[in-house]
């Protein structure tokens, strides 16, 4: 017992020592690399540190502004996000409302919906790529046999079809996540509100628009922001489905950054890309935190 320090002081010290390992690891793995990426993006250097770092100012960013492939990847990323998120939201709300009903086999239904989310995106993507396969895929087999088409559809070979196919995989995988968050929100709505609504003579649809939706605003917003940030950094989906193709029609920002860094081995230019991506997503995450804070 050291009475020299106050009780509070000793508790603060203990607490700090509990927090320290976590803070340290987060600093090393998450914070320092971001700072280093910023430094790299302003200079010219070699991967193994054999050449000295040379400061080049905004040269990489200037190059980025004139880089058509960068703007393409931005457009791809935002198009993908803008199409898939509303679809996920609608399906997510629908699924949540469905799973909030009581019926037999609800546990299994819930589990089935959870699976796509729980499996690795990379492997999910492979499953779909197999089904999309132009020669042996399930979709073309059904389409050809039933006579809907007479030539196989090249799902991943056409610019718009490839984007569409990518959106389908994302929606399939993450609608369940949306549904789960919204379902939790649904279950926190007191039952007697609906009973009061029924006493007031509301129809099912009015119950949904007058009670359910307004009270789900919070969970929906949270789900939207989390998913938007996910979609903005999508990587393994195009990596495994199309490798960004055809040509660069589905090359997301993350995928382009990866290629610049590890295929073209241009760390410094790649760093500039990831810094831009970081700023976009970080702005969104601040918006998210702001939303959470104002809600509480």
């Amino acid at each position: 017992m050291n009475a020299a320090y106050s009780l509070d002081h000793r508790r603060q010290m203990t607490g700090m020592s509990f927090v320290a390992p976590t803070v340290l690891l987060i600093a090393i793995i998450l914070i320092y690399p971001i700072i280093q990426s910023v430094v790299l993006s302003f200079g010219q250097s070699s991967i193994d540190g054999s050449e000295p770092y040379e400061f080049v100012g905004f040269a990489h960013y200037a190059k980025l502004m004139g880089d058509e492939r960068f703007w393409n990847s931005m457009a791809v990323t935002f198009t993908f996000t803008a199409i898939s998120i509303p679809l996920e939201l609608m399906l997510g709300i629908g699924l949540a409302v469905l799973l909030n009903e009581s019926f037999r086999g609800k546990g299994i239904a819930r589990l089935a919906v959870l699976f796509p989310w729980a499996l690795p995106t990379a492997l999910n993507t492979l499953m779909w790529r197999w089904m999309y396969n132009a020669d042996y895929g399930l979709f073309n087999a059904v389409a050809l046999q039933s006579g809907i088409v007479d030539r196989p559809i090249n799902f991943l070979g056409d610019e718009w079809l490839a984007m569409f196919s990518m959106v389908v995989v994302a929606v399939w995988k993450t609608s369940s996540f949306m549904a789960l968050i919204i379902l939790a929100g649904l279950q926190s709505i007191p039952r007697d509100l609906y009973e009061a609504g029924r006493m007031d003579g509301m129809s099912r649809w009015q119950e949904f628009t007058q009670i359910t939706l307004p009270l789900l605003k919070g969970p929906i917003l949270v789900a939207l922001i989390i998913r938007s940030m996910d979609a903005l950094r999508t990587f393994e989906l195009p990596f495994n489905l199309t490798d960004g193709g055809p040509v660069i029609a589905t090359e997301s920002l993350s995928l382009y950054a990866y290629k610049v860094i590890f295929d073209f081995i241009d760390f410094n230019f790649g760093a500039a890309i990831v810094v831009v991506q970081f700023l976009v997503i970080f702005a969104m995450s601040l918006a998210y935190i702001f939303v959470l804070r104002t809600r509480n």
Partner: protein, 274 residues
């Protein structure tokens, strides 16, 4: 309350379940077809004959595919253990010890948890290369732990907040220090929280792609999602092997999800709602 006809409800449920399941089912069906059956025309919807030769082939001729699964397992377990220990202590301190900067730290941790992994790649690859951490379990475990610690801290901190604080105060009066309280009182009382968090972190680690791709460059060290994705190499995609390997790689996740569905869903929604 009047009973409405529920056929529509069941129809919708069945459609949702089928859509959620069919890619997985199709994959499993593919994995038990013969190679000829996979590439047959007219297409084989039901495998005839059902064969496990693809599984046998992987076991006898492509042990690296099993190695990927083992690697994922080692990294997943290591990362989960590390995050639970670190995150448990930090979450306890942040939710219970009235730390001066607790609010700031919690928000800061939430903010960094949203960093896009690809942004970390140039720096992490370079540093791990120079530190000799590329292609080591330690390296990827540390990277995954750093990536998923924020989630862990938030999950556990909010779980601890649901425990009655008086029990810990009684332990203080009985003469326990904070570490002993954490180990002998808080830990046994919050194991459901630890189980849920641990399972989700394990799934996160198992599924993580960009860091595993970049930090494990040797074939023998790759995790399952990365190894299988890169498996085909330069030639045509060997779907009979890929589908089978994928089934093997997702089975652990399917089992965990099926058994611990409640805990995982509870943990996820609590984490997202906070």
């Amino acid at each position: 309350m009047t009973k409405r006809p529920r056929y529509g409800l069941y129809l919708l449920v069945i459609i949702s379940v089928v859509i959620s399941f069919f890619p997985i089912v199709w994959l499993i069906l593919t994995s038990v077809k013969t190679t000829a059956g996979i590439y047959a025309w007219p297409p084989q919807y039901w495998p005839t004959p059902v064969t496990f030769e693809n599984y046998w082939t992987i076991i006898t001729q492509s042990p690296e595919l099993l190695r990927y699964v083992l690697n994922s397992f080692i990294v997943g377990v290591g990362c989960t253990a590390l995050t639970l220990v670190f995150g448990g202590l930090a979450g306890y301190a942040l939710s219970r010890l009235n730390l001066k900067f607790a609010g700031f730290l919690m928000v800061g941790i939430l903010a960094v948890s949203m960093f896009p992994p690809v942004s970390l790649l140039p720096s992490l690859f370079q540093n791990f290369l120079q530190l000799g951490l590329l292609n080591t379990y330690t390296g990827l475990i540390l990277a995954h732990a750093g990536l998923f610690l924020p989630f862990t801290v938030w999950m556990l901190a909010s779980y601890f907040a649901t425990l009655p604080v008086e029990i810990e105060e009684a332990a203080r009066m009985d003469g326990m220090g904070f570490l002993r309280i954490f180990l002998t009182i808080v830990l046994p009382l919050s194991w459901p929280g630890f189980v849920a968090t641990g399972l989700i972190v394990f799934i996160f680690s198992w599924n993580e792609f960009p860091l595993a791709l970049v930090l494990m460059t040797q074939n023998a060290m790759r995790t399952a999602p990365v190894g299988i994705s890169l498996y085909p190499g330069e030639y045509a995609f060997p779907w009979e092997t890929i589908s089978t390997a994928t089934v093997i790689a997702i089975i652990p996740i399917l089992i965990i999800t099926a058994i611990f569905q409640k805990q995982i869903v509870g943990g996820l929604t609590a984490g997202a709602g906070k």
